[in-house]
């Protein structure tokens, strides 16, 4: 029981990361129907911007932890958002009416480019972050002496994720920007006729997705204390699995899917085999697509002649 609770806590923390990345996939898929393959690498850039911001703050002597964290989050979201915008503007906009495969290939190229670009500029080695927050609350202790710990770091991660997701949901639901975004998602041509600036909305979608991925990158960096240029590939695929599991195109689905994938991965590693945990995630992807193609909260996709 204690082991179970501990695994659940760890899984939810990891799931928060996947959920934040998955939103970017699901929004982009919803609005222009393409898999933004470079999104995992945008997440990786978010992590790199975070660690560089941290070191710059260190140079200026800002070491008060809450301020440093807020600075890292804001900087990561801003600069990564710019990267997301540039990726769409350079790589995808010209291909909006191209054959279906063209944007996907372009996205794969973008992904390869970003990975190697970061490797070229920042080196191939792991980038370690000194532990900023340590300690935690001991929730319960079993008779065998196994202690369930909820780290302060995990609390901060969960609170941050919740705040970001609530803010983001409100933005999509309440603001004019969110309304335009949803309108474009439903019918781009009609939205354009009604005066919505479609190009701008799509750009904003990419910026929002990238900013959320940047938050995920920061969380990853804080939680694992390490980042490298290759981290985006696997995390990206798992987050995509989360988006599919939740039902692609659905924002709450992406969040739920992310949490589920995180929990499943951690439980599989904890109870069965750590070596095959990635295989387990891919297996879920396959099973979901075969038996539940619309995902948990997705809308059915009707094929019309």
């Amino acid at each position: 029981m204690e082991y179970f609770v501990q695994q659940l806590i760890n899984g939810l923390t990891l799931g928060a990361v996947y959920g934040l990345i998955a939103i970017g996939y699901t929004m982009v898929y919803g609005i222009i129907g393409m898999i933004n393959f470079a999104h995992g690498d945008i997440f990786m850039i978010g992590g790199f911007v975070s660690i560089i911001t941290f070191m710059v703050l260190g140079v200026f002597g800002i070491t008060w932890v809450p301020l440093a964290l807020v600075c890292m989050l804001v900087m990561a979201m801003a600069f990564t958002g710019l990267h997301g915008w540039a990726v769409e503007r350079i790589g995808y906009r010209a291909l909006r009416n191209a054959p279906r495969l063209a944007p996907l290939i372009s996205a794969i190229g973008m992904s390869i480019f970003l990975q190697n670009y970061v490797q070229l500029l920042q080196g191939a080695r792991n980038k370690p972050l000194p532990p900023i927050i340590s300690g935690g609350i001991e929730l319960m202790t079993s008779s065998e002496g196994f202690t369930v710990k909820l780290g302060y770091m995990q609390i901060i991660i969960m609170v941050t994720t919740t705040v970001i997701m609530v803010g983001f949901t409100l933005m999509i639901a309440r603001t004019p920007l969110g309304r335009q975004q949803r309108a474009c998602e439903q019918d781009m041509k009609m939205a354009r006729l009604l005066g919505v600036n479609v190009d701008r909305t799509i750009s904003l979608t990419f910026i929002m997705g990238a900013a959320l991925a940047a938050a995920a990158g920061l969380i990853w960096l804080l939680y694992y204390g390490i980042i490298d240029f290759y981290v985006g590939f696997l995390a990206g695929i798992k987050a995509f699995t989360a988006a599919v599991l939740g039902g692609i195109g659905s924002l709450p689905g992406a969040m739920v899917g992310g949490l589920l994938i995180g929990v499943i991965e951690v439980f599989y590693a904890g109870y069965f085999s750590s070596a095959y945990k990635d295989v387990a995630v891919f297996m879920i992807l396959v099973l979901v697509l075969i038996f539940l193609p619309t995902g948990l909260i997705g809308r059915p996709d009707i094929e019309k002649v």
Binding site: I45, M55, I108, D278
Partner: protein, 489 residues
């Protein structure tokens, strides 16, 4: 002037051009600031931060100038700019070749400068050419030009390329490096042709093709080591195992459409790799399998000192021993295998099953209505594509003599798919051109290291934007009505 600015865009004034270039430079500055401006340097256990503001501002400056000059081209000042930028980039290349004086210490920035100058020159050239032609055909020309060109030149190029491929190892300039490169290009050409069956003909986007390559390589290694069979005896088994995997992996996912299928096949590719990595008893895990038997020429070994009772190739033919004999032999094996793939594909396109693939690619619902069974049709495509992937994998295993899961990661699948799509889906010649460009080019510049992959990624994006339908997008109709008498064909 009007003909040059043929687009609907309004001519920008000088001030607006400056403002536009400044905006682009500002974005570039924002992109460059965190990742170019600062560098994390490993120092002992921790890291220190170094700044590269000089390089950053230089890069941003180059982008500003470049954007401004692009604006000038669109405003009709193409001719002097073409001359200036062309001369500049030519001088740069000559300088690099003859190594006169490095204009900038920084290698990366030097390449960036050259790249911007080249882009400007190309753009100016295109704009001038467009201006010189009558306007009004802009939309159609982009796709039509290579098709016409292909039909005219194809008849000449194909036999010439084939002859070159056959005699290449015996040409005076062919050293071991070049023949090795030829082997690599042909391997990817074969993989491209194999994947073309799945992606180009049947229209099923497969991002996990490397799985079959891996299955072929591992089944070749395991069969030939454990059962002692030689290359040609093992090849059919390796192909059959790969085909079995093609069907087994294809069966559950064939109901999925396009992008979903892509991701699931990607997942399968990664699963196979992870299983090979972790199933130590079967695959020896990350350490890989070594000492895979080399192919022999009708029983003749390509070794300097063959085992007792086995003839060596150079002794039998009374030649001096040279390692290049084996390389050349491998070259011809892969040439034959690749041509076999191509010939098979060209023939099967004309069979009912080939026609069914292409029909399925165009419209699945219509196919079902016409009584084509989509499941078996797709499965055949998967199985045949996988078989060729398995053959190529066997060849890879025997060529390297050592395989490990490391060789079969996602990037390989991406490269093979890029070859198919960049070449122009369904175009057999396009695959050859794309694999020469994508594999031969970067491999020749292997010294550049990480630059190579940066350029590879950028090239994929650039080619897709320039020609979304692929380099040689030319879909030959499989069925052509005979020309009616009295009408020109």
């Amino acid at each position: 002037m009007a003909a040059i600015g043929a687009g609907a865009e309004r001519q920008l004034s000088f001030g607006e051009m400056i403002r536009d270039a400044a905006a682009v430079a500002l974005v570039a500055l924002g992109l460059a600031l965190p990742l170019v401006g600062f560098q994390t340097v490993d120092r002992g256990a921790g890291m220190i931060l170094e700044t590269r503001f000089g390089a950053m501002f230089y890069a941003v400056g180059v982008i500003f100038v470049g954007r401004f000059v692009l604006g000038l081209i669109d405003a009709g000042r193409g001719r002097p700019i073409l001359a200036a930028s062309g001369a500049f980039s030519a001088a740069w290349v000559l300088n690099a070749i003859f190594d006169v004086a490095p204009p900038i210490e920084h290698v990366t920035l030097g390449w960036l400068t050259w790249l911007v100058a080249m882009t400007i020159a190309l753009r100016a050239w295109f704009v001038l050419r467009r201006g010189a032609r009558p306007a009004g055909r802009d939309g159609t020309r982009a796709g039509a030009l290579p098709a016409v060109w292909l039909e005219r030149v194809g008849r000449l190029v194909v036999p010439a390329a084939l002859t070159f491929a056959v005699v290449m190892p015996f040409l005076p300039f062919a050293d071991q490096r070049l023949v090795d490169l030829g082997i690599l290009v042909l391997t990817y050409t074969m993989l491209g042709w194999g994947l073309n069956v799945v992606v180009g003909l049947a229209g099923l986007l497969d991002l996990g093709y490397v799985a079959f390559y891996a299955v072929g390589a591992y089944s070749y290694a395991l069969i030939s080591i454990n059962l002692g069979l030689n290359f040609w005896e093992t090849l059919p088994f390796a192909g059959a195992v790969a085909a079995f995997f093609g069907v087994a992996l294809g069966f559950p996912v064939l109901r999925l459409r396009g992008d979903y299928l892509a991701i699931v096949t990607l997942g399968f590719g990664e699963m196979i790799r992870l299983i090979l990595l972790n199933w130590d008893d079967l695959s020896n895990g990350a350490k890989g399998i070594g000492d895979i038997p080399r192919p022999s020429f009708f029983g003749l070994q390509f070794t300097a000192a063959p085992r007792e009772g086995v003839a060596a190739f150079h002794e039998y033919f009374d030649l001096d021993f040279s390692p290049i004999h084996r390389v050349i032999y491998l070259y011809y094996i892969i040439l034959i295998l690749a041509l076999l793939t191509n010939w098979f594909t060209l023939r099967i396109r004309k069979l009912p099953i080939g026609r069914a693939w292409e029909a399925l690619r165009e419209d699945e619902i219509a196919c079902r209505a016409l009584g084509i069974n989509p499941t078996t049709t797709k499965l055949t495509a998967f199985a045949i594509g996988a078989t060729f992937g398995g053959f190529a994998g066997s060849f890879f295993a025997t060529r390297q003599g050592f395989i490990s899961p490391e060789s079969f990661n996602f990037i390989e699948s991406a490269i093979i798919l890029a070859i198919v799509v960049l070449g122009g889906m369904g175009s057999q010649l396009g695959v050859v051109v794309a694999s020469v460009v994508l594999i031969g080019g970067p491999e020749w510049f292997r010294d550049l290291g990480t630059f190579r992959m940066v350029a590879f990624g950028a090239l994929m994006v650039a080619v897709m934007i320039w020609r979304p339908q692929g380099l040689l997008a030319h879909r030959d109709p499989t069925v052509r009505l005979p020309a009616a008498p009295g009408r020109p064909p």
